[in-house]
Each structure stands twice: as structure tokens, then as C-alpha cells.
């Protein structure tokens, strides 16, 4: 299994103040990895650093075997890194179809493939993205990320503002994507148990430091481990 993402001893943050310190983790092909942690742990910052939107302070990040340091974010994206950021970053003034066309490299084929995961979007193709419901918007964000045929998919808090029942429907799709396309998925999630159900492995961040890592099923069994890491107990 090829290593898609390799984070080694990374510190990152804003304006010289580090938010994440000495983080080491990796994502392999066909794997769903979830990054957990309480608010302010540095999960989103980690994803932003991987896609090049936040500069690295120390350590090394390799995406598809190439260091991201000093590279422009759109260049990294073009190599097959798709990032569904917090807030979804949809183009509200554009229609659903236009949103999807922007990502699609080889035209309609990619769009069809993306829509096969989210058939609910099909009747909405002509509607402006800003008029969709929250769940539909999240589906569109994910579908748009899929149109680029990603080899590595970063998904940030897709459950934000959504009813748990919708999250329960969306998360297994990530599993399917990883299984069917062989892409690696790195998922940041607040719904710990739902995330652990679909993930292979999990990392837990707290106050910018890695406090726990392991296979998802193991962590799911031992609730106290995660609870104590969230609460900061030793």
C-alpha cells in the first residue's frame, strides 16, 4: 500500500504561534483515517497545512511522496488532493452543475461518477448552490471534491450544522469511496462514534498534541480512552 500522506514531526500555526506541535501521522491508499479531538485541538489547522493554505513551521509533510513546503496550494490540489474545508467553500452564485464542472478534469464522465455517490443531487443540477439545504450543500461539496478524481480526500467537519441522521447517511459514503477508488480519506469529525464506525484508524489531538492513536475498532471499544484524552486527564 502506497503512502499518500506522511506527516512527520510537524508544527504549524498562525503568525508564529504554533497551534499543532510535533505531529506525526500518515494516511495510506484505500484507508479511511479519522482525526479526532476537542475544539481548538488543531485538527482544521492540520488539514489546512496539508493542502498548503497555512504555512508549515517545522517538520515535514509529504503528499504523494512530495514535500508540500513552499508549494502553492493550487499546485498541490492539481496533483490529486481534494479538500472539503470547513464551511464547504461552495460557489453560491454558480449552479450545482457549474460547481461540479469546475472540478471535473475529463468532463461529464467524472461528474457522472461523482453523482453516482450522491444521486440526490441529480435533479438539482440547474439550481444555484446558495439555494440548497445544508445537507445538499454538504453533498455538493463532497461530490465536487470527487470530480477531481482525488487520490487523497480531506474532509473537515462534514457534520457541522447537519442532523445526525444525515451524517449517518453521508459517512458510509466515504468508506465506499475509499474502497472503490482506492483513495485515502482523512476525516476530521466531532461525532466520534460515527467516525470510528467507518474509519480504519484514528488519531486524537488535544491542545495541539497527539495524545492517542490506534485502530478504530479498538478505540471504539474502549470508550474511556477517548474520553480521558478529550478531557485532558492523564
Amino acid at each position: 500500500m502506497a503512502r499518500l500522506l506522511d506527516i512527520d514531526g510537524v508544527s504549524t500555526g498562525y503568525n508564529g504561534v504554533s497551534v499543532v506541535r510535533d505531529l506525526t501521522m500518515h494516511v495510506d491508499e484505500g484507508e479511511v483515517v479519522t482525526l479526532l479531538g476537542p475544539n481548538g485541538a488543531g485538527k482544521t489547522t492540520t488539514l489546512l497545512t496539508v493542502s498548503g493554505l497555512v504555512p508549515l513551521m517545522a517538520g515535514k509533510i509529504e503528499v504523494f511522496g512530495r514535500s508540500v513546503e513552499g508549494r502553492r496550494p493550487h499546485r498541490i490540489a492539481r496533483e490529486g488532493l481534494a479538500h472539503v474545508p470547513e464551511g464547504r467553500a461552495l460557489f453560491y452564485q454558480l449552479t450545482v452543475g457549474e460547481n461540479l464542472r469546475l472540478g471535473a478534469g475529463k468532463g461529464s464522465l467524472d461528474i457522472k461518477r461523482a453523482l453516482s455517490y450522491f444521486p440526490a443531487l441529480e435533479p438539482l443540477m440547474g439550481r444555484r448552490a446558495g439555494l440548497l439545504s445544508g445537507g445538499e450543500q454538504q453533498m455538493l461539496a463532497m461530490a465536487r471534491a470527487l470530480t477531481v478524481n482525488p487520490r487523497l480526500l480531506l474532509v473537515d467537519e462534514m457534520s457541522l450544522g447537519l442532523a445526525p441522521i444525515i451524517v449517518e447517511r453521508l459517512l458510509p459514503i466515504l468508506r465506499r469511496i475509499a474502497n472503490e477508488s482506492g483513495a485515502g480519506v482523512l476525516l476530521v469529525e466531532q461525532h466520534v462514534h460515527m467516525a470510528l464506525e467507518v474509519a480504519d484508524r484514528a488519531y486524537v489531538l488535544s491542545h495541539g498534541e497527539l495524545v492517542l492513536e490506534g485502530p478504530a475498532d479498538q478505540l471504539a471499544k474502549d470508550r474511556s480512552l477517548i474520553e480521558s484524552s478529550y478531557l485532558g486527564a492523564e
Partner: protein, 767 residues
């Protein structure tokens, strides 16, 4: 009615020009979120390029030779055809390539560095570009103003166009077809191509576009090129319609184009095209047909054409209410901090006597005889400019309202006062006296200021719903409309447009404090003192406003209108209050200008000068009273500029250029202006000077002395091979010293590892 339609077709030419310009504005806004006030100057430069290629076959490059030597020169022109004229279409191509080059330059050198700046910073950047291009045109194209010839259907004249009984030049139709074609191509581009889609996407959400692998900066670059090329097309092809080319050509014509672009929310190309053509037609119908009708109000005859874009802009913005699509995900920096004024009394106690000393000189005459002649006039100009800039500081710096109409408001007060103090009795100095009630000057001045406040508050009403750069657009349109509706309107001013109205000198208890000095020049020390005292009073008022609860309300509105409202501040009242006070300040500046000039004409208040005044206020420091004072000193024909042209006779042709570059650099590097740059430095050296004794001076001398000597030597040797002008000789040694010290400081900074303070900082020496 048949006539009206025929006249409307005549407006097709101007309308198509507006349409093309509006398209470019829309494209630039889509691509980078900038309302490009320099768009007209790009068109101007392309038109000049084209016409000079047709005249002498040389392509002028958009920069000037700044090297201070005649041995090494920057190339400023390329000879395309040594035999003179270049083929028309080759010339068109070259002119378009030139505008594309300008687009590239604007992207990389100005608007990309400014992409996160506050809206006012971008406006200043655009004004800087405008000034720069005008300055370059002034130098490179000289004083010759060619009359452009038509390119499209030049010899065609439809004798009876569509059977309406009026002739129409074929050029109009050609321009219209071109505008529609360009519009169609661009519309298709933004609707269906991947580039167009990505542009719209990046305008909505930059982060999303980046994460899909698009570079918003690359997109912005291509959009700037397209925008600049449409401006080039408009400038080259508009041909004979708008008269002889001058460096300030098209700067006023940007207003109708802005109106057209705003109708389409700055995002729809087809609506911009339709709007531009429509405005052109309505203007022509108004100026040629409606004004001839008996029902048309007499006093509106001259200004109606320019009022149309203003009405359209205000109506579209006001009725739509919802603002333009704002670029998503751009982290906009706020305006710079507005410092809390301290030690007002001390400043007054030092600066006012300093001003009086400058006016009268020191007793005994042998030390310093006081400013006279052009120096005194320049000092007055600076003081009065500072008054005007205080109005910008209050309005733009404290409340964040970008108004470009303040100079015109000053003009309103000056014109009203002139009319009120006129009595219609002709005299040898003033044979065509303006009729009026002949009020004494204090009443006339007060009335003028009151009218200025009224006009200012009226123009502030749109600001209740229109914000940011859009307000700037409204105020530009208002300034242009005021110009033709009032200043150039003989029905209201009783003055031929462009001629002068006399202003009687002010007196205090029989003492003449007018600006005419004892030698008959405009250099009266009494008037300078008068200016100093008025300016000091205004500074104290503005500082105290800033310190009090009104100032806190101003800053709260500037920071966040909704938050201010939720904290119990009446935002509408606060804004109108600010417009009222600022207009009062501008009114005082207008009255003082009238006293200084002793006569006024409409040419004192052209809207373009108002833009430059705002830009100089920004250069000085838009958020502080000190900034207004520095801005006043920097202003054109102010003290510093006169000093500069005194030292170098040729400098005045470079003034717009230097000003433009200065504005762009200030907006990018130091948005808080010169005041905030010098204040800490002055305080720092002040403290050092206070503490420094002989040993400290010795250390500095030992460290820097050799470099000073080296610089002096280099300067002395450098005179002959370098510039040979008379004026520059004594300065070359000083330049040499400064250069050597500058190079040394850079070397020291690099050696010490960048951000560490350099080792020769006086603080460490004295420690």
C-alpha cells in the same frame, strides 16, 4: 418625438464607448474585486499609443527615463517604422498589446500586492495608477494633443438613418457593432468557458477555487489583461467622437461607464453594454433635444447631461439596497488605527508660533526674513490643503466613508460666498462683476459654509445605504455633476463658465488680512497668520471630536456598523453628523481658498483635483490630524512640491508621476501614511538626542564617520560623469552620503540576520 429618436441614434457612438468601458470595469471587478478608477487612463494611454504610431511610427513605453544621467538611458520608445506612419491595423494591434501590458503591470505591481488591503487602499492604488499613466503621458507624449481620426467606417455618413430624417456618421454604427460583439464574446466567455466559470467561482469563494486547483491570482491576471484591452479598444476606436487627446482624457468619462457597470451590479456584461449605450443615448437626447424644449427648466440647461449618470448610479445603488457581490474569503484588512490625539495644547503652542515665524520672519531680519513670494504662496496653499484634508481625515479616516466630493463642497462654499459678497458694481479690476446682495465677508463666508454643510449632508444621505467603494463611485458622480450643475452653470453663478468671480479681501476691525502683500504679490504675512490660526482651530476641533464620545461613535461606525447599532449608536445620525462636520471643514477650506486666490473660477474645483486631494491625505496619513498636516505640505504646489521644483527646474513635469508612484507604494507598504511612519522615528531620535552626550556622539562619529567621508568623496567625484545640470551639483555630495549610508544599513541588516535591529541603532549606542 421623431427628432428625439434620431438624436438618440447620434448618441450611439458615445454610448458604445461607455459600454466598452463599462465592460472593462465589470471584467476587472469580476477578476479582482477592484473598481478600477484608472480605467479611463488606460484607454487614454492606448489612444495616445495608437495615434503616435500613426504620426511618427514610434511606440512609447509606459515608463520614463528616471536615470539621473545622460550617458545611460532607459529605453522609452521603440521605432516600429522609421519612415513615419505605421499601418492602421498594425498600430491597433500594438496599441492593444500596450494595454495588455498595462493590465499585466497593474496586476503584478499594484492590485496583487493590494489584494488584502482595505477598500480605501485599493481606491488609492487605482488613483495612483491613474496619476502615473497621466504623468507618463505628459512626459512621453509631450504637449502635442493629436485629434484622433475615425477607424471604423470613417467615410460613411448615413444621410437619412432608418428614415428619421437626420444624418448619422457611420463611425457610430461601427462602434455600436463592435461594442455588441465584444460584449457577446465576453458574455459567452464568462457563461460557458472553464476560465469564465473559474473567474466567477474565485470571485465567490477564493479558497474553494484554490482547493480545486485554480490560482485566483492567475485568473485575476488574465482578467486584468482582458479589462485593459477593452479599455484599449474603447480608447483607440472612439476616434473622432471625443475631441483632441490630452493626458487627462477619459477620466471624467469614466463616470457614465461606472453608472452602466453598476446597473449590471458590476457582474453582468450584457447589462453593462445595454446600460452604457442607453446612458449615451439619453445624454445625447437630453443635451440636444430636451434642453431646447420650453418646459425644460432654465437653470438645468448646462448640467443636465452630467447629472444623468449620478441619478442613475444613486437610484440603482439606493433602490437595490443590497450591495454588490463582494469577493468571498478575502481577508480584508481594516483601515489603519486612528491614534488618540495627545498633548494638543503643546502642539498648538509650538506649531502656531512656528507658522507665524515662517510668515513674518524673526525680528532683525538678518536671521530669517520670513517667507515671501512663491514660498509664502506655497505655504498658504499647504495650510489650506491641510484644512481640506482634515475633512477627509474625519470622514474617511474616522468614519470610514470614502467621499471624493469634499473638494467640490469646498467649491460650493467658495462660489456661494463669492456670489453673496458680490454687488454687481463693475470696477477696473473686475469689469464683469457678478450681481449679488453685496453682504460683508463674515456673513457671506458663514452663509457659504452653511450651504456647504447642507450640500454635504444631502450627499451623505446615499451613504446611509451605500457603503465602501460604491460610495466612492456615488461621490465621484456627485462631484462631476456639481461641476456642471453649479460651477459651470452661468444661470446660478452669473458667471461665464471658466471665468473668474472677484472675492473681496477679508478685514478684521479695519485691518486688511487679505492675501495681497505689501509688494503686490500674493504673500501677505497677515493672511498666512490668518490661515495658521484657522487651521489650528480646526485641528483642535477635530482632535477634540476624536477624543470625545462623538469620536468613539465615529470609530465604532467605521469598525462595524451593525455592532455599533447594537451598542445603541444611531448609525444614520452619526454618519450624517460626520458628513455635516466634514463638509463644514471643507467649506472653511473653500472660503480660505477664495480669499487666497482673490477670485474663483470653476477650474479650481474639478473633480479630478478632489481625487488627488484624497490621495494626498492618504499619503500623509488618513487617520490622524498630523496626517492632514503632512498631506497639506506634500500637496501639489504646496511647500514641499515648490521646494522640489525650485531645486530642479524640470521636476514639475514629473510631479503626477512621482505622486502616482508614491500613492501606490504608500498603499502597499505603509497604509497608515507618512505621519505614522515619521512619528515613531521622530520620538525615537528625540529621546536619543535628549539623552546623548559627547561620548555617545563620538561612538556614532567613529562608526559612521568613514562612511560619510566616503560618501562625500563619491559624491564629489560623481558629479562630472553623472548629471551635469547646474542645480544638482551641490546636492550630489549629500546624495552620495545618503547612498553610502543606505547601502551600509542594508548590508548590516542582512549580516545581522534580517529582523534583528541593526547594530548601529542609537539606542544601543547610548546604552
Amino acid at each position: 418625438m421623431k427628432d428625439a429618436i434620431a438624436f438618440a441614434f447620434l448618441g450611439l457612438g458615445a454610448g458604445s464607448f461607455f459600454a466598452l468601458m463599462a465592460t472593462g470595469l465589470v471584467v476587472a471587478y469580476k477578476g479582482s474585486g477592484v473598481i478600477n478608477f484608472a480605467h479611463g487612463s488606460v484607454a487614454m494611454y492606448a489612444a495616445f499609443t495608437f495615434n503616435y504610431l500613426r504620426i511618427d511610427g514610434r511606440l512609447r513605453l509606459p515608463w520614463v527615463d528616471i536615470l539621473p544621467t545622460h550617458q545611460v538611458n532607459l529605453p522609452v520608445q521603440i521605432t516600429i517604422s522609421s519612415g513615419g506612419k505605421v499601418n492602421v491595423w498594425l498600430a491597433v494591434l500594438l496599441a492593444l498589446a500596450m494595454s495588455a501590458l498595462l493590465g499585466v503591470g497593474m496586476h503584478y505591481l499594484v492590485f496583487r500586492p493590494l489584494r488584502n488591503a482595505a477598500p480605501l487602499g485599493k481606491v488609492i492604488g487605482a488613483i495612483g495608477v491613474m496619476l502615473y499613466l497621466q504623468g507618463v503621458a505628459l512626459v512621453n507624449f509631450g504637449s502635442e494633443n493629436p485629434q484622433p481620426k475615425s477607424i471604423l467606417l470613417p467615410d460613411t455618413l448615413f444621410k437619412n438613418f432608418l428614415g428619421f430624417g437626420k444624418p448619422m456618421p457611420g463611425e457610430n454604427l461601427g462602434l455600436f457593432i463592435m461594442a455588441v460583439l465584444v460584449g457577446a464574446v465576453l458574455w459567452f466567455n464568462y457563461k460557458y468557458t472553464r476560465f469564465g466559470l473559474a473567474t466567477r467561482a474565485a470571485a465567490g469563494n477564493e479558497k474553494g477555487a484554490v482547493l480545486l486547483g485554480y490560482s485566483p491570482e492567475r485568473l485575476a491576471l488574465f482578467n486584468w489583461i482582458i479589462a485593459a484591452m477593452t479599455a484599449g479598444l474603447a480608447g483607440v476606436f472612439v476616434g473622432s467622437i471625443t475631441g483632441a487627446l490630452t493626458p487627462t482624457k477619459f477620466t471624467t468619462l469614466i463616470v457614465p461607464a461606472l453608472g452602466a457597470a453598476l446597473i449590471g451590479s458590476l457582474s453582468s456584461v450584457p447589462i453593462a453594454i445595454a446600460g452604457g449605450v442607453g446612458i449615451g443615448m439619453i445624454q445625447t437626447v437630453t443635451s440636444t433635444w430636451m434642453t431646447g424644449k420650453s418646459w425644460f427648466p432654465d437653470w438645468l440647461q448646462s448640467g443636465a447631461t452630467d447629472a444623468i449618470p449620478l441619478v442613475i448610479i444613486v437610484l440603482t445603488l439606493f433602490l437595490r439596497g443590497k450591495s454588490l457581490p463582494i469577493r468571498g474569503n478575502i481577508e480584508e484588512r481594516r483601515l489603519p488605527l486612528s491614534p488618540y490625539p495627545k498633548r494638543i495644547g503643546w502642539h498648538v503652542a509650538i506649531l502656531v508660533p512656528l507658522g507665524v515665524v515662517l510668515a513674518y520672519g524673526l525680528p532683525g531680519d538678518f536671521v530669517f526674513a520670513g517667507l515671501s513670494g512663491k514660498w509664502s504662496f506655497a505655504f498658504m496653499t499647504s495650510l489650506i490643503a491641510a484644512m481640506l484634508m482634515l475633512s477627509y481625515v474625519l470622514l474617511a479616516g474616522y468614519v470610514g466613508q470614502i467621499s471624493m466630493v469634499q473638494l467640490s463642497i469646498a467649491g460650493v462654499s467658495a462660489f456661494f460666498m463669492a456670489r453673496m459678497s458680490a454687488n454687481g458694481v463693475p470696477s477696473p479690476q473686475d469689469p464683469f462683476a457678478v450681481s449679488g446682495p453685496g453682504l460683508p465677508w463674515p456673513i457671506g463666508a458663514t452663509l457659504g459654509i452653511i450651504v456647504a454643510i447642507a450640500v454635504g449632508v444631502l450627499l451623505g444621505i446615499p451613504a446611509l445605504r451605500i457603503r465602501g467603494v460604491q460610495l466612492a463611485v456615488v461621490t465621484i458622480a456627485a462631484a462631476v455633476a456639481l461641476q456642471t450643475l453649479y460651477f459651470d452653470n452661468s444661470k446660478l453663478t452669473n458667471l461665464m463658465a471658466g471665468s473668474n468671480a472677484a472675492v473681496p479681501p477679508p478685514t478684521f476691525f479695519g485691518v486688511d488680512v487679505g492675501s495681497t502683500g505689501p509688494r503686490g504679490l500674493t504673500d501677505s504675512p497677515k493672511f498666512v497668520t490668518f490661515c495658521v490660526i484657522v487651521l489650528a482651530a480646526m485641528c483642535v476641533i477635530v482632535s477634540n471630536l476624536r477624543r470625545g464620545s462623538t469620536g468613539r461613535r465615529f470609530l465604532a461606525v467605521r469598525a462595524n456598523e451593525r455592532a455599533a447599532a447594537s451598542a445603541g449608536i444611531d448609525v444614520a445620525r452619526t454618519k450624517l453628523l460626520a458628513f455635516g462636520i466634514a463638509s463644514g471643514l471643507a467649506g472653511v477650506a473653500g472660503v480660505m481658498t477664495a480669499f487666497q486666490q482673490q477670485q474663483i473660477s470653476s477650474s479650481n474645483w474639478v473633480y479630478f483635483a478632489g481625487l488627488i486631494a484624497l490621495a494626498f491625505a492618504y499619503l500623509g496619513g488618513i487617520t490622524s490630524v498630523a496626517g492632514a498636516l503632512i498631506g497639506g505640505m506634500l500637496t501639489g504646489s504646496g511647500l514641499i512640491s515648490v521646494f522640489g521644483s525650485h531645486q530642479s527646474s524640470g521636476l514639475h513635469t514629473y510631479t503626477p508621476l512621482i505622486g502616482g508612484v508614491g500613492m501606490i507604494l504608500t498603499a502597499i507598504i505603509h497604509p497608515s501614511g507618512q505621519a505614522m511612519l515619521f512619528q515613531p522615528l521622530l520620538q525615537y531620535f528625540g529621546r536619543w538626542l535628549k539623552a546623548a552626550r559627547v561620548p555617545e556622539w563620538l561612538v556614532v562619529a567613529r562608526r559612521l564617520g568613514p562612511y560619510v567621508v566616503l560618501g562625500l568623496a563619491l559624491g564629489a567625484i560623481g558629479i562630472n560623469p553623472w548629471r551635469t545640470d547646474e542645480w544638482s551639483r551641490p546636492w550630489m555630495m549629500l546624495v552620495g552620503v545618503l547612498l553610502v549610508l543606505f547601502v551600509r544599513s542594508i548590508v548590516v541588516r542582512i549580516r545581522s540576520g534580517g529582523h534583528e535591529p541593526s547594530s548601529d541603532s542609537p539606542a544601543e549606542v547610548s546604552a
